[in-house]
């Protein structure tokens, strides 16, 4: 399974949108947080988990999905949300805690919920799994089109929810795909110190389902493997597990000094930027011209800028609105 040129451009562009959006967020996040870094201060308070470097996982999977397909994500959701087609303006407003945000500011960046495109998150490690399995069950019961994809980090794989959910999905043969973004780190703990096996694809054997490992943080490889797994799920042949080697280019969250991370690894980050690699690839293989690139870059940046502008201009909710929406 190889992507069309159009699909490749789509992937490239969505990686850019996510990256630009995060770069803008990164800058604004630091407002009010210097010289003393206080998470509570500034236009974007709270934790901020950037996904830069991990964009290939999101686009390589989501390019195969339709709005009616279901995606559950993690505490690090921006790239996935962008690729799944979450409303960018409302998502950004949510990250700013504005009244126009997806949930009127109740959720923030770890709780991006956009039912219009069947996207949700949980900030609890491993808890993207159950809801994805349930959505897949729902489609099976309703005989309704659609698959579910649960994203999780390599650290999340050691959480009980992973094991239970994969077994349940396998026993019930549900149309769900589990995508592990292996960025090598769970906060400060390297995969080698937390996981008894080198690659988690082997864990698929514990559930009798196909397991795939995708090295290289390469959107095209991810496209191929995810495409097959999703097609398999659509055919009613059950779940698959995919582990993707990816890259956390930022700290765990903003403010993380990453002293635990080997200097050499930090030094290599820029050189391993998957967006640069994708651009080079497109120029070389797909003969993307500088002009075309500029066009894409501009389009992507504009979308991000518009979302930021929307968020900035939006009003805050009133305090007492906190009491609303506990129940429907």
């Amino acid at each position: 399974m190889t992507p069309t040129r159009e699909q490749k451009i789509w992937m490239y562009e969505h990686m850019l949108v996510s990256r630009y959006l995060e770069e803008m967020i990164e800058e604004i996040y630091m407002e009010g947080k210097t010289p003393a870094f206080n998470m509570a201060a500034g236009p974007i308070p709270g934790e901020m988990h950037l996904s830069k470097g991990q964009e290939p996982c999101a686009v390589g999977v989501c390019v195969h999905l339709k709005p009616f397909d279901v995606v559950t994500a993690t505490h690090r959701p921006h790239h996935i949300a962008v690729a799944k087609g979450v409303d960018l303006n409302k998502m950004t407003a949510e990250i700013f805690g504005k009244a126009t945000g997806l949930s009127g500011g109740r959720g923030g960046h770890m709780h991006i919920f956009d039912p219009d495109v069947n996207f949700s998150c949980s900030g609890i490690i491993g808890q993207s799994v159950g809801p994805a399995v349930g959505a897949a069950l729902s489609r099976k019961l309703q005989k309704k089109e659609g698959v579910a994809v649960a994203f999780l980090g390599e650290g999340a794989v050691n959480q009980g929810a992973f094991h239970e959910g994969l077994n349940l999905a396998a026993v019930w043969k549900l149309p769900v795909i589990f995508v592990i973004e292996d960025n090598g780190w769970g906060i400060s703990v390297p995969k080698t110190a937390s996981t008894a096996v080198e690659h988690n694809d082997i864990r698929a054997q514990a559930y009798g389902i196909p397991g795939h490992y995708v090295p290289g943080n390469n959107p095209l490889e991810i496209f191929r493997v995810a495409g097959e797994a999703i097609a398999r799920a659509r055919r009613g042949e059950g779940p698959s597990l995919i582990e993707i080697e990816t890259l956390r280019m930022a700290g765990h969250f903003m403010g993380d000094a990453e002293q635990y991370r080997p200097k050499e690894e930090l030094a290599m980050l820029k050189a391993r930027d998957p967006i640069v690699a994708m651009r080079t690839y497109l120029m070389t293989v797909d003969k993307m011209s500088e002009a075309e690139d500029q066009e894409i870059v501009t389009r992507a940046r504009k979308r991000a800028e518009a979302a930021i502008a929307f968020a900035k201009e939006s009003p805050y909710p009133r305090g007492e609105e906190a009491l609303e929406k506990v129940f429907v």
């Binding site: 109740r106 919920f113 808890q127 399995v133 349930g134 959505a135 019961l141 239970e164 506990v326």
Partner: protein
């Protein structure tokens, strides 16, 4: 009178719950049931009996022993338009799946700004008295009621059991449905005869969040839920022998909590006893008492009293367990200490 007798349709809580679920399943294809041993076995506590036979294995699904997975799945299915009724076999097992219950089920509506409805009914067995020891006998009322985002109901009789189940299934929000084992009418768990009452055949609802006065009285208000209601009713009978008129309130719901109902009664009687089989501290008894006194302290003629489970794990041995449980005698004694 034949006509009257034939109108009486006495049922157990277990039967009433199963009937409610079946009726909703017949009319609403989105309703389905998941849990351990709820299929062919009909539920360890009988409350899904007959469903597997009528609706088959697709809609009545036995699960692996994976509570985090299947409750998490219920949340995902509910968000996708289904209306799962899920069983956690014993409430005591909440600890293996509380994140799915509380960080997903209870909060996803809020996180989505009210856009997602999560209509899950989580039914689970509570209560002791039959020597099932410390991991199988708890009530944990306050454990659930303390945490916002879920409604919490708990019937004391079959009529309420059916009506509350139908309300819970139709509610667009997550509802924790606690049923007390000793009130299930299963025989092998003992049976409180007063829980077996007339249950209309047709579907009906009992509103969530409304308490009921199950006995009127003038001298003292006794508030309870599930088993506590039956202890209170028996205590009220004993008090009546002594010329004391006790009003008994069945809370039925812990969230929303019908504080007004309790306050109005205490305003009349001037005295309050709260009965609860859950652990005493930081629990239902404290919340009821605080709700009354913060509304108006002058209406109380004496300090309010609680008859609750002591703050100890539940012992296996019969003499110890029975000693620790609330009972009518303790309620009567509480009243007597109030007036002496």
């Amino acid at each position: 009178m034949t006509t009257v007798t034939s109108n009486v349709r006495k049922q157990t809580i277990a039967r009433a719950m199963a009937e409610a679920i079946a009726q909703e399943m017949r009319t609403d294809p989105r309703v389905f049931v998941m849990g351990e041993d709820i299929g062919q076995l009909g539920g360890v506590f009988g409350n899904t009996r007959g469903l597997f036979e009528e609706f088959g294995p697709e809609r009545v699904r036995d699960t692996p022993i994976s509570e985090t997975a299947f409750i998490g799945a219920a949340v995902g299915a509910a968000a996708d338009g289904m209306r799962p009724v899920v069983e956690l076999m014993f409430v005591d097992f909440f600890g293996v799946c509380m994140d799915a219950i509380y960080n997903l089920m209870a909060k996803n509506t809020y996180f989505s700004g009210g856009k997602l409805s999560i209509p899950v009914v989580l039914m689970t067995a509570t209560g002791g008295g039959y020597s099932d020891a410390g991991q199988h006998s708890q009530c944990l009322h306050a454990t659930f009621a303390h945490l916002p985002g879920m409604k919490v109901v708990a019937p004391s009789n079959a009529y309420d059991a059916k009506g509350l189940m139908i309300s819970a299934i139709r509610d667009d929000n997550p509802v924790i449905y606690l049923f007390h084992k000793a009130l299930q009418g299963m025989g092998w768990l003992g049976t409180e005869p007063a829980s077996i009452v007339h249950v209309p055949e047709e579907a009906y609802t009992v509103p969530i969040g409304k308490a009921a006065t199950v006995r009127e009285g003038r001298d003292v208000t006794i508030v309870g839920i599930t088993s506590g209601v039956h202890h209170a009713l028996k205590a009220a009978e004993q008090l009546e022998q002594k010329g004391v008129s006790a009003e008994v309130i069945d809370l039925r719901s812990l969230v929303p909590l019908d504080r007004e109902h309790v306050i109005n009664s205490v305003r009349k009687t001037g005295r309050l006893i709260v009965v609860d089989e859950d652990y005493q501290s930081y629990g239902v008894t404290g919340e009821i008492i605080a709700s009354v006194v913060e509304a108006d302290i002058s209406m109380l003629k004496s300090p309010p009293k609680r008859v609750a489970y002591p703050d100890i794990p539940i012992p296996f041995s019969r003499p110890m367990e029975q000693w620790a449980l609330p009972n009518p005698a303790k309620i009567v004694a509480a009243y007597e200490s109030m007036v002496k």
